[in-house]
Amino acid sequence: MAKHETPLLDQLESGPWPSFVSDLKQEAEARAKNERNIEYQIPVDAVDDLLGVLELSFKHGRTHWKHGGIVGVFGYGGGVIGRYCDQPDNFPGVAHFHTMRVNHPAGKYYTTEYLKQLCDLWDFRGSGITNMHGSTGDIIFLGTTTPQLEEIFYELTHNLNQDLGGSGSNLRTPSDCIGSSRCEWACFDTQAICHFMTKEFQDELHRPAFPYKFKFKFDGCPNCCVASIARADISFIGTWRDDIRIDQDAVQGYIAGDYPPNGGAHADGNWGAFDINKEVVNICPTGCMSMQDGKLEIDNKECTRCMHCINVMPRALRPGTDTGLSMLVGAKAPILDGAQMGSLLVPFVEVNPDNDYEAIIEVIEALWDWWMEEGKNRERLGELIKRQGFQKMLDMTGIKPMPQHVQEPRTNPYIFWKEDEVPGGFNADITEFRKHHLR
């Protein structure tokens, strides 16, 4: 018998998809039965009360959670988010219901044993409810009380070899795709650099350092499986400088129907025979592909690395071998200003673990210095770029303007000459000029 009547939540279970309400009910029931005799350190009915307060919020059309708090673990300014219910008498199980963000392993690789250990810890000292994973990538532990925080932190750091993630005005937990561990398109070892940056910037990750949140995300190729281009203040996206590798025999194999396009991902629909012109060549966004005498040709200097042709014909086409990454800056979700995609800042940089990614760190630190100095409170890097201009960012990072920075040539040029860059400055003698150039 449920502790609270939840007719509005019950309705959410009626759709065709798995429902978080069903999950919560299952957890509430398991806690009540306690078949494993766990010595629960927070109220056993926390999940019942969570369902109850959510039902009340649906009924009232407003939240019953208070905003933020002072709780944390000693020495850290992130990783714990205070959450309190404003109806503690009706829902005592969630009166204090803090969130913990735990740094996920690079590539989100776990053993089942490790996942069991995480869940056991959270059943014992928390609500048992997790979010695998939050949008930043962290393992999210939802709901515990203040006295449990240090205990959980100790267990994570001493026995589970794991740390808290970032929150607040910190560097957020860096996240990455699975990279070269499973993916042949990865242009750099995403897990290695993600792990390195997590360790390199421990202070920024655990203590507030910035005007607002700051996110790094590492995508091994332009397919952008962690969507860094849409949500990271600096997105690191794998790319290559040489030509797409073509196996012309395999191209013929696709044309003949020997290989299913897209690795068979669309094989369940009746799409008819594969048509290389219709499905690849004619829809190349830069028009850099053509079929000449039955051979596929690519004008590589025009390619913008959209990955479509490689995705459709993975046996025939592969990224080049001179690989590195592009750095894009300023992507964000629409909290204060509108959503922004990343803007290309560094078209190609080597990924060199042997010199501790020196070339990449140099750009990161220059951007941080500018943003820490000039960024307003709660202003993301992308908003600062918009407010002060892309050119200002180039000045601050010492990066020279280049054609790749221009999205649409001759429409809205934003790179301006400064007086000291023009021979003779801006005070040219107009009479002298007119002697040689008629009006």
Partner: protein, 80 residues
């Protein structure tokens, strides 16, 4: 930078403002020590939190910093 002097300036400024405001953005601290780079001021502030002179308040997305124990929340949530 004279770290002791910087810590003292921060404490004095926060105490002076404590009637009207209990929590501050990190950027507000830069203004208290205008001759230093933001990164240096950030390190002083974070050390003061470790030394339990200041404390963080986090909404989850933004962090504010104030004198330890100041403001309503600690008492209201039984965290003091």
């Amino acid at each position: 930078m004279d770290i002791e002097a910087a810590r003292e300036t921060i404490l004095t400024t926060l105490k002076k403002k404590s009637k009207s405001k209990s929590k501050f953005y990190l950027k507000d601290f830069y203004k208290m020590i205008p001759d230093e780079k933001p990164r240096a001021v950030k390190n002083v502030v974070n050390k003061m939190v470790q030394d339990e002179l200041l404390e963080y308040w986090s909404s989850g997305s933004t962090t504010l910093i104030g004198l330890k124990g100041m403001g309503k929340q600690a008492h209201a949530e039984d965290e003091d």
